[in-house]
Symmetry: C2
Subunit: 156 residues, 2 copies
C-alpha cells in the first residue's frame, strides 16, 4: 500500500506571491489541511471533536522546499505515519503533482492528542489507537521518508 493521498487542491490566488509562486507559509497550509483529513481518518473529525472534546495540536514541524509551485497548478499531499505513542503521532507529508513522484516539498509534523477541556495532553481512545495501528501496519513496507530527522545549518 502506498502513502495515503490525504489532500488535493489547485494553488489558489490568495496563496501566491507577486511572482505567482506559492508562498512558503501556504505550503504549510496545504499540509495542515492534509493533517485535518488524516484526523478524519482517525475518527478525530470535527463532529467527533465536539462529542469527545479531543483534538490534535501541532507541537513542532519541519519543512523542505524542493521546487516552486505556481498559481493554478494541481497538487496532492501523500502522508506516511513515521511513528506514534499513546498520545503523539509523527507524520510525514510530501507534496506532488498528480501522477508524479518528484516531491515539490516535504513536511514532518509532531502532533499531540489533547483534551480541549484543559487543554492538556491525553491518550488516544482505544478506537482511534486501533485505527492508527491499522494505518501504520498498512504502510510498514514503505521506504523511509527522505526529508526527515533534519537539522538546519549552513553548509560546512
Amino acid at each position: 500500500m502506498p502513502a495515503l493521498t490525504t489532500y488535493k487542491t489547485p494553488i489558489l490566488a490568495d496563496w501566491v506571491d507577486y511572482n505567482g509562486h506559492l508562498r512558503d507559509a501556504f505550503y504549510l497550509l496545504i499540509f495542515s489541511y492534509a493533517t485535518d483529513a488524516f484526523m478524519d481518518r482517525l475518527g478525530l473529525d470535527s463532529s467527533n471533536r465536539e462529542a469527545s472534546g479531543n483534538s490534535l495540536f501541532t507541537l513542532e514541524c519541519h519543512l523542505n522546499y524542493l521546487h516552486e509551485v505556481k498559481l493554478g497548478e494541481e497538487v496532492e499531499v501523500r502522508t506516511q505515519i513515521v511513528g506514534h505513542d499513546r498520545k503523539r503521532v509523527h507524520l510525514y507529508h510530501s507534496l506532488y503533482k498528480p501522477g508524479s513522484d518528484d516531491a515539490l516539498a516535504a513536511n514532518e509534523q509532531m502532533l499531540l492528542h489533547v483534551d480541549l477541556a484543559g487543554p492538556r495532553s491525553a491518550p488516544f481512545s482505544e478506537t482511534v489507537l486501533n485505527t492508527l495501528l491499522a494505518l501504520a501496519e498498512d504502510q510498514k513496507d514503505l521506504p523511509k521518508p527522505v526529508w526527515i530527522g533534519r537539522v538546519i545549518a549552513l553548509p560546512a
Copy 2:
C-alpha cells in the same frame, strides 16, 4: 542591542480555526511577513527586487509551537541572525505578545539569495552583504536562540 522587531500584527479572523486559535500555518505566515520585513532591511525590498532581479527563497524551516494565540491578540516577531555565508542567511524568528519575553512560537529559517532570471543561487551584492554584516555585528551579544538545531522525534 536586542533582536530586531521585524513585524507586528493582530491575529486576523482568516487565520484562526473553529476554536478561535491561530492555525499552525498562519504562525508561519506571520514569520514569512517578518522575513519580508528583514529583506527590506537588507535592501532586498520589492522595488530593489525589480531593479536587481534578486530575491530570497526559503530552503528549509522548522517551527515550535509553544502557546496558543487567539483571535484579535496583538503579536510581534523578533528576529536574530544565526549565521550567513556569501549567498545564504540563517534566521531565527520568535513570536511574542508586546512587552512579554515568553515566546509563543519559534521559527528557524534557511534562506537562499537567488537571481530570479535563472532562477539560480547568487552571491549577495556587496551593499547587501555589508548591511547583513552590520546587523549581525549589532546582535553579537544576544544569547543563543533556545529553539534551534532541533530534530523531530518521539520521546525515548
